[in-house]
């Protein structure tokens, strides 16, 4: 379950951000004794485990092709007699790998598990070809007398790294997912987008600093670059009012919905806190009065907003990795992307689980971590 650590950002890469935060007007925040100097941070994607896995292998029996003119015929016969079920990414024939040119060809006869049906030991390193291949003499004559046990990659490679590892075992097909390649090579965000990400996390960080529970979150509409909700944690007063849950309810409140404004369990900051926070208090931004959002809502945006899945198209910035409750709340809310600062041992978006890519759930979303990581360690 634990995520394989990947340090894939080189210091000269454009995802490397190093600058100081603009001086903030908010006196209360500057009083909080927290170093606002922004140290370098690295944006790291949190992808499904399958992208980081090492190549697993499967055993096959391989014979040498003695008569190369017969190769096409052999492939035809073998693919009906011993289809490489589950190994469609594996090439049936390869040039022999002994360093010399024209060293001949090798062909996969069958998977080792297919050998069992002929009552042979599927772990023996060498088997007489005629014992497993039921075909006429001309075919058998074109093959070496014995076939040997080889390993081939069990799963199709999903990344270039996996492709390179796989190819060392046996030639395979590789259909590169261009977007995943960009994600893994940190080619997704432009410098100005990275600045925007940092700006949003700075806001979440400010909210975290005035929260007794030191967690802050903001919801952003990336289409209009507007902040939709600013929230911080209230779990000291209500065990379930984690910053993410509060943020989700504030988004609903911005649409004249919400629940925590009804039960007398107010999730706005108490008055003192609100006073000291000045501009960055935990207020919802009312959509109906937001001009920029109205502009964006000319098209399908407004349609999606009539559904209860209110976070459709929105990004969440939260100072630390959400727990399982919050992560699942984000699935229910159809969030678009999540950016977080620091990992937590119980975290459900990379550390303890990866709920955002959990098989069997009907909504998946992108997760990036490491934004202002040092500062977020509150």
């Amino acid at each position: 379950m634990s995520e394989k650590k990947r340090k894939h950002v080189s210091p000269d890469h454009k995802n490397y951000v190093n600058k100081t935060v603009r001086s903030t007007k908010d006196e209360d925040i500057s009083k909080t004794n927290v170093d606002l100097h922004i140290s370098p941070w690295y944006l790291t994607p949190v992808l499904a485990d399958k992208y980081y896995q090492h190549t697993e292998s499967e055993n096959v029996y391989v014979a040498e092709v003695l008569d190369q003119k017969m190769t096409a015929q052999l492939v035809k016969t073998l693919s009906s007699q011993y289809p490489l079920t589950g190994l469609s990414h594996v090439k049936r024939v390869r040039a022999r790998a002994n360093g010399k040119k024209n060293a001949g060809l090798e062909i996969i006869i069958c998977r080792a598990i297919d050998v069992n049906i002929n009552h042979l030991d599927s772990s023996s390193t060498s088997i007489q070809t005629e014992k497993i291949m039921k075909t006429d003499v001309s075919h058998l004559n074109a093959l070496s007398e014995f076939c040997k046990l080889f390993v081939v990659p069990k799963y199709p490679p999903l990344t270039r790294k996996q492709y390179e590892q796989s190819s060392q075992l046996w030639p395979v097909q590789f259909h590169e997912d261009k977007y995943i390649a960009r994600v893994m090579n940190n080619q997704v965000f432009t410098t100005s987008e990275l600045n925007f990400i940092e700006q949003n996390m700075s806001l979440a960080l400010k909210l975290a600093m005035v929260s007794k529970c030191h967690v802050g979150a903001v919801v952003v509409d990336p289409a209009t670059k507007t902040v939709v909700a600013r929230a911080h944690d209230f779990r000291n007063k209500h065990t379930l009012q984690h910053a993410v849950m509060v943020a989700i309810d504030l988004v609903a409140q911005g649409q004249n919905g919400g629940a925590w404004n009804r039960y007398g369990l107010q999730i706005g900051p108490n008055l003192q806190e609100a006073e000291s926070l000045n501009d960055s208090c935990i207020k919802r931004e009312n959509h109906t009065t937001s001009q920029s959002l109205d502009e964006c809502c000319g098209k399908d945006c407004r349609l999606t907003k009539t559904s209860p899945y209110l976070c459709t198209g929105y990004d969440l910035y939260v100072t630390r990795e959400p727990c399982t409750m919050c992560a699942m709340a984000l699935v229910h809310s159809r969030i678009r992307r999540v950016f977080y600062g620091v990992s937590t041992p119980w975290g459900a978006l990379g550390s303890r689980y990866k709920i955002h890519v959990w098989e069997g759930l009907n909504h998946h979303f992108e997760v990036w971590k490491g934004v202002l990581e040092k500062q977020c360690q509150l």
């Binding site: 209500h238 849950m245 609903a252 039960y263 727990c323 409750m325 069997g360």
Partner: protein
């Protein structure tokens, strides 16, 4: 019909008591269905009395996380405030009854609150956190309380029927009045 909780449950065995509370949850689920919500209802019982009862209010609140269990938890907090009880102690001794398996989020909430047990009707194949999609009820997770004791399958058939009615009505061409009529006929056929 009597309200289920007006029975003298002290003279009933625990299975009957369970069924009674599940029926109370079921009534709330029907109310949810009548209001176009996913039909899930929940009651929370402390020291032998229902201190919270609610249903799904996702559409009403425009908040996709307002599941019956979450609404009930808020009511428990209110109840504790009103009765000056320590909420953490109340949650530690709370019994939860819901007609459908709690989702991953709600199961996590129950674990976070250290609620000892949950009784539910049918499985939740899409989001279930007590075994259907994830095992939040008994996975080891830092910060979670004791693992959650689960009793499933109480009046499961009724719960499945109610859910099926809802998902039939999900067809945008089938407005709610039809859904309601259909519901009544189907329920009459089965009772």
């Amino acid at each position: 019909m009597d309200e289920p909780w007006s029975f003298d449950y002290n003279n009933m065995d625990s299975a009957d008591v369970e069924k009674m509370y599940i029926k109370a949850a079921f009534k709330l689920a029907e109310e949810a269905l009548d209001n176009g919500e996913v039909p899930v209802g929940c009651v929370m019982v402390f020291e032998g009395s229902i201190i919270a009862e609610s249903r799904n209010t996702v559409n009403e609140t425009k908040n996709a996380v307002r599941h019956a269990e979450m609404n009930c938890v808020d009511q428990v907090f209110e109840w504790c405030k009103k009765h000056e009880r320590d909420s953490s102690l109340v949650f530690k001794n709370l019994h939860v009854f819901v007609n459908v398996e709690p989702c991953i989020m709600c199961a996590s909430a129950l674990r976070v609150l250290d609620i000892p047990q949950v009784v539910y009707g049918c499985n939740n194949e899409r989001f279930g956190g007590c075994g259907s999609v994830m095992n939040i009820h008994n996975d080891e997770v830092p910060g979670f309380g004791r693992s959650l004791q689960v009793t499933s399958g109480v009046n499961a058939d009724d719960a499945v029927k109610l859910l099926k009615l809802f998902y039939k009505g999900q067809n945008p061409n089938a407005p709610h009045p039809i859904l309601k009529a259909q519901k009544l006929t189907e329920l009459n056929q089965t009772s």
